[in-house]
């Protein structure tokens, strides 16, 4: 690990100011950044510890829930209000990582975790995300778990989060504080950037911007399902996952919001898929049509060809369960 200065911030303003400095990075749970620092994939010159800013609370707000950025994945998954009203979030969190990691990993950190593309991790291979302009070793390499939607010729890396997939389906908002003390909010859709020709830019965050909380609006659907397919039964990243938030009225789908993991460089949602389902009567044909729409622009790379038939089966299975 390269040397760095360590600073424990006492309040959010001080944290943002310290985080604005060149080469600075925030640390909370540390489970991802320290892993990457050990491998020298990341080498911040200064770490700003944001674990003592009082951002570890979960509070009701306007019928929704305000989740502090440093609430751990364990505490969020076990929160009774989340379990009752946003169960897809608990399920997604519990499908990720291990008991030890969930006790450390935070809400904000989970959103900002880096891809697990093996070429991003291997500093002996070119990677446009790690070193802009170097090239992409994944293209033409081992592609078992890469993105098939939203990619570019410069990067096919996946966003690995389960939690964020559920947040996407729940219309969550990310609140950010800037070094100037201003607060702003993003939908997940606006928060993440597609790789394009700048795969090293993953979010809208500017230097010193700190995620302070995530807001969950009142749930729009009571039928919530998270299903994750992976290479082993526990403690593995998704190959494909689906988060469905559905409300049924008189036999028809009144609300549909479907998030996808394992398919894209960001937690994925396709408004055409949601629009196709909304107002329709559940049927096998409808669910197949939704899968067709989801996958119409998909590009696979050999090793990940299986994701198309997998997603084509998983989405209808989840929709069947959520609308039954």
């Amino acid at each position: 690990m390269r040397p760095f200065d360590y600073l424990r911030a006492d309040d959010t303003t001080a944290a943002c100011e310290a985080g604005f400095d060149r080469g600075a990075a925030f640390i909370a749970g540390g489970t991802n950044i320290l892993d990457l620092m050990k491998l020298e994939v990341m080498a911040p010159e200064k770490l700003v510890d944001v674990t003592r800013l009082g951002l570890d609370r979960i509070e009701e707000e306007d019928g929704g829930l305000r989740i502090g950025a440093t609430v751990t994945n364990s505490d969020l998954a076990a929160n009774m209000r989340v379990r009752r009203h946003w169960p897809v979030l608990s399920r997604a969190l519990l499908a990720g990582a291990s008991g030890q990691l969930r006790n450390k990993a935070t809400t904000g950190g989970n959103l900002l975790q880096r891809t697990r593309c093996p070429y991003f991790y291997d500093t002996d291979t070119p990677c446009n995300k790690r070193s802009p302009g170097e090239g992409c070793a994944a293209l033409g390499g081992e592609t078992r778990n890469h993105a098939i939607l939203g990619t570019s010729e410069h990067c096919i890396a996946l966003h690995p989060s389960d939690m964020a997939v559920a947040l996407r389906a729940l219309d969550a908002q990310i609140e950010v504080q800037s070094p100037e003390g201003k607060r702003r909010a993003y939908d997940l859709d606006n928060f993440y950037c597609l790789p394009g020709d700048t795969p090293h830019i993953e979010t809208m965050l500017e230097p010193g911007d700190l995620i302070t909380s995530v807001f969950l609006p009142a749930p729009k659907g009571d039928r919530q399902v998270y299903r994750k397919v992976r290479d082993r039964a526990s403690y593995a990243f998704a190959l494909v996952s689906v988060a469905a938030v559905i409300r049924m009225e008189e036999g028809k789908i009144a609300h549909a919001a479907i998030g996808f993991g394992g398919l894209a460089p960001q937690p994925w949602r396709d408004i055409e898929v949601d629009a196709t389902l909304t107002g329709a009567t559940p049927s096998a044909a409808l669910f197949e049509k939704a899968a067709d729409i989801l996958l119409q622009g998909a590009e696979t790379h050999g090793g990940d060809d299986f994701k198309i038939p997998l997603a084509r089966r998983l989405l209808p299975a989840v929709l069947e369960e959520a609308t039954a």
């Binding site: 076990a78 008991g99 450390k104």
Partner: protein, 167 residues
């Protein structure tokens, strides 16, 4: 940096480079070699310790971030006598080489507390709890601890025994 760590209820003032992980501080600076370095990347669980009662991978956190926390290592679980879980590991032969054992025991100690607190897991049929410690629940809840000798039958029997002894 000078920091004070509270480990097994004793305060220790240390002068540490901020790069030192909690695991290295325990092993190399406090001579508490029970916590093991396996993968050093949070994948094997051999380094599991308790921080404020919660199980974490001590290899994936910095020592300087833990001032004021109550840190418990496997050495702190036995207060003169072995803990019921430690006794159960001996009774059920829950190890072969023993390298992963301190991590398994620390992890299981906190896992049983999580179960008592009604925390659901990925395999729980309902999120409302309470949860029974079925084979599937045990395997899921302990998936962050690997045993290369594959002593899982003995490990699982030991955890189950300790859980039933608790009841």
């Amino acid at each position: 940096m000078q920091i004070t760590l509270t480990v097994n209820e004793a305060d220790h003032t240390l002068d540490l480079d901020p790069r030192v992980t909690l695991l290295d501080a325990l092993r190399n600076h406090l001579d508490l070699s029970g916590s093991r370095k396996g993968c050093d990347h949070g994948q094997c669980g051999a380094c599991t310790v308790l921080v404020n009662g919660r199980r974490i991978n001590s290899c994936l956190t910095l020592a300087v971030m833990h001032e004021g926390d109550a840190i418990t290592t496997v050495e702190g679980l036995s207060n003169g006598a072995l803990s019921p879980l430690q006794e159960a590991f001996i009774k059920h032969d829950g190890f072969q080489c023993g390298y992963c054992t301190p991590g398994q025991i620390c992890s299981a100690t906190a896992m049983l507390d999580e179960l008592d607190a009604g925390w659901p897991s990925h395999v729980s049929p309902s999120l409302d709890g309470p949860c029974e410690l079925t084979e599937a629940e045990l395997a899921e809840r302990m998936s962050g601890n690997l045993c290369r000798c594959s002593c899982y039958p003995g490990i699982n029997a030991a955890i189950r025994d300790a859980k039933e002894g608790q009841a």
